[in-house]
């Protein structure tokens, strides 16, 4: 079964990237909504559920976007308010010198050749309006000063390009002033939100998450079923029946992971890894149906939405009376937890500074948020010899690791995942230096762009990531791309299928699940995917 629709051009065609610039100046080149490269609008019922402004049913292809009558005033006021609330926005509007260092760092520019995907121009889309409305030179000199009027066409351009940025922040690494395009995109999206220009793939998960606690809208009984099913499956593979407490008051630790982990594949194998690991070390923990989501599509919507959705995590930790929170393999969840959570939803003074109950390690780096990343936790277990691991059970995998943008560029979480991988897998190969760690390339589908209507742009944007994977696939025979982000796990498989056939996608704790020797387990013949393990003699040839 293919995830790639028939309508998408073949890789040979998509790989020919037109780098011709338009003859006309970018300000005079109106946006053209290309099929396969834009996101559908949000449905009014989801917007209403979240009390978002101007709920209505509309399509970006409509001529009339049914904007409120005073939409220009609303945006102007919204921008004024945000300039006064965010120094980042104000400084980033003023100090760009357009040196162009960021230009060829964006995966969407690389894959599409569209100049408005150069981070500098993406920012100029907003900056030009800022100059017109908020600077003296712009008011007087207009276009000469790089200023332009906010028209419907400009607004449409904003919609197209600000929902064509995955907020991955790679460009910012190279900017001499640290101008963060993700921050500009986030605030520009807030402005679009003010007049009701939202995309479906962020608002529906937000509405679901607000109501049921998770993006997929899974209700508590469905959640319980799903975990139960995983427990059964793990028993089939290992012969061990694990306990997976849900909504258990008084547990020591609350575990929160993205909902895709218990509902989608290949995420599901990672879930089996968590279950096996927690059982083996005898962790006193609980799942929660109310806080059944680590991800937060508020990050792709507005700061206010981040706060509204994240509140459940601390609220649930308090209700259940846990000591601290452990978080699963998720990308932007960790950016939110790290950069916003304590400020927005804290103080978490009803929790305790996290200490591993198994090793006694104090997680000082999380002493305020009281939230620890699963690879920080597992690497500590391995370092302290608390796990019995048989990495040869992963000998059928030749692995490389994709640093997910958010843990990489917001936390600097580089070594922990690598340490875990090296201890559970014998064949690990790094992709080239310019494509990993803080220079990692986005999967091309983050920030709410992982929808199918945007597939062509996703494949274009994912080209740099795929290209680096292809390099290690050809050089070292890499056949699995590991990552620790639910969006990666959802969107990298079609990307690999398209650009690098023969490479699977998996999670770190999936390989942990394979390698972990459980006390009293039966002899394993397959990995958690049901793939046969390599026999002794096969292993020697590798």
């Amino acid at each position: 079964m293919s995830d790639i629709p028939e309508s998408i051009p073949k890789p040979e065609q998509l790989g020919v990237i037109d780098q011709q610039l338009p003859r006309s100046d970018w300000m005079d080149t109106p946006v053209v909504f290309k099929h396969g490269s834009y996101c559908y609008s949000a449905k009014s019922k989801f917007m209403s559920y979240l009390d978002l402004p101007n709920p209505r049913d509309w399509s970006p292809m409509d001529k009339d976007w049914k904007l409120p009558n005073d939409w220009q005033r609303i945006i102007h006021e919204g921008l004024r308010e945000r300039l006064s609330k965010y120094r980042s926005l104000k400084v980033f509007m003023d100090i760009c010198v357009r040196c162009g260092a960021c230009a060829d760092k964006c995966h969407f520019f690389i894959g599409s050749g569209d100049p408005k995907n150069m981070p500098v121009l993406r920012a100029e889309l907003l900056r030009s309006v800022y100059r017109k409305d908020f600077t003296t030179a712009g008011k007087i000199l207009g276009k000469i000063a790089g200023a332009r009027e906010l028209t419907v066409d400009v607004l449409k351009e904003w919609y197209y390009y600000f929902y064509q940025c995955t907020e991955c922040r790679r460009c910012s690494v190279f900017c001499p002033y640290g101008i963060d395009t993700a921050e500009i995109t986030m605030l520009a999206r807030e402005l679009l939100n003010l007049v009701g220009l939202n995309i479906g793939w962020t608002i529906e998960p937000c509405a679901n998450c607000f109501r049921t606690g998770n993006h997929l809208g899974i209700q508590p009984h469905g959640f319980a079923d799903s975990i139960e099913f995983a427990v059964d499956e793990l028993e089939e593979i290992t012969g061990i029946r694990v306990d997976a407490p849900i909504n258990k008051k008084g547990a020591e630790i609350l575990f929160i992971t993205p909902s895709a982990d218990y509902f989608a594949s290949p995420h599901y194998y990672t879930l089996l890894g968590y279950l096996a690991l927690f059982h083996e070390i005898g962790l006193d923990y609980t799942w929660s149906t109310f806080a059944s989501e680590g991800g937060n599509f508020g990050l792709f919507t507005s700061h206010e939405m981040i706060k509204r959705l994240n509140a459940k995590m601390y609220a649930e930790a308090k209700r259940l009376g846990v000591k601290w929170i452990l978080g699963g393999e998720c990308g932007h969840m960790w950016r939110v937890v790290h950069q916003y959570m304590d400020t927005m939803n804290g103080p978490a003074d009803f929790l305790q500074e996290p200490v591993s109950p198994i090793t006694g390690t104090r997680f000082e780096n999380a002493r305020s948020t009281k939230m620890v990343h699963i690879t920080e936790f597992t690497s500590d277990l391995i370092r302290n010899n608390k796990l019995k691991l048989d990495p040869s059970r992963n000998n059928h995998w030749r692995a490389t690791f994709h640093d997910s943008c958010n843990p990489a560029r917001a936390l600097g979480l580089f070594e922990e995942p690598r340490y875990v991988i090296r201890n559970v897998c014998n064949n690990f190969f790094e992709m080239p230096d310019n494509t990993i760690r803080e220079q990692t390339f986005c999967c091309g589908s983050g920030a709410g762009l992982g929808n199918d209507e945007n597939m062509e742009m996703r494949l274009r944007g994912g080209l740099p990531r795929a290209n680096a994977v292809r390099h290690v696939h050809e050089k070292h025979g890499v056949n699995i791309l590991l990552c620790m982000c639910a969006i990666d796990k959802a969107t990298l498989p079609p990307l690999m299928e398209y650009w690098v056939p023969g490479v699977e996608v998996g999670g770190i704790h999936e390989l942990v699940a394979n390698a972990l020797v459980l006390t009293g387990e039966k002899e394993r013949t397959t990995d958690v995917r049901g793939e046969p393990l390599m026999k002794e003699e096969d292993t020697k040839d590798v």
Binding site: G15, I17, Q19, W26, K45, F46, S48, S84, Y86, R87, D94, I95, C96, R98, G100, A103, D104, K105, P115, T136, A137, I144, A145, G146, R169, S172, V173, F174, P176, Y177, D180, A207, N208, R211, G217, P220, H221, D225, N247, K249, T289, F290, R308, E316, V337, Q339, D342, T343, G346, N365, S368, T369, R409, A410, L411, G412, E415, E416, N434, N467
Partner: protein, 345 residues
Amino acid sequence: MKIFLPLIAVLALVGIALAGVELANLQVFFGIVIPYAALAVFLGGLVYRVLKWARSPVPFRITLSCGQQKTHPWIKSSTLDNPHSTAGVIGRMALEILFFRSLFRNTRLELRKGPKLSYEWEKWLWLAALAFHYAFLMILLRHLRFFTVPVPFFVNALDQLDGFFQISVPALYLSDIILVAAATYLFLRRIVIPQIKYISLPADYFPLFLILGLATSGILMRYLLRVDVEAIKELTIGLAAFRPVVPAGIGSLFYVHLFLVSVLFAYFPFSKLMHLGGIFLSPTRNLANNNRMRRHINPWNYPVKVHTYDEYEEEFRDKMQAAGLPLEREASGDLKPAGLPLEKE
């Protein structure tokens, strides 16, 4: 248009100064009034802009981490690229400001058929930018000898250093050559590289032309069309001491030079040149990445509408009960339902 307009503007500025001095004899205006006004605008504007930025808070720490975070003691963390303390932040900022560290990371994308991408060595922009800024600083400091009696030792030392290669009489300054070469490179890349040309605005060309004009007039004065240095120093010392006098016999070229300097100073606070001040305030670079260790406060924090557990249980109670999940209340309380039921389609 984008290129010619700024060029014409700079030529016009030269013309204004020449005409003002040669035809209208406005030496006092161009020698005293304009420089003072420009300096006032520069200082006032600089303070105004920085305060304006600083008035907006930094509600969230959005530090960019370009190295390993501080976690386990057995994992080496990157104190400079991912600082968790003030000392680390100072180190990071020093590297940015003194050595343009982020720009040093720059690579160039190579796109070959296949498609195959690679990232090539590219340090020219970093090198030119660094050379340009340091040459500018050197020249600025050297100029202190026009404003001071006696000339401070370090200014003389810089002067010696700069003219180390005594290629001509008077000694040819390295900084002059470097400034012109670097500015020319920065200009050329704007017109040669199609993408850079596409993103460039008149505001990118104008300061380059202005600085090139400034350098040219300075070089002409020093090496070719000699001006009366004694008289100039009399003027500049007078300006510095706030007892301005305009001696006779200063060539018009000097007024052109001084006028261009004045324009640059006055233009500075209202243009992209303010990156000088902005870099210190950039929230992705100037904050410690200690967000999970320490709580930071958002000064305009406000309460938001959330979905509480009670509302959640109220809506799903029957289903939770049927699934055997623990409940806070066994029967429906007097709480209102969470809102409109949303069934998946």
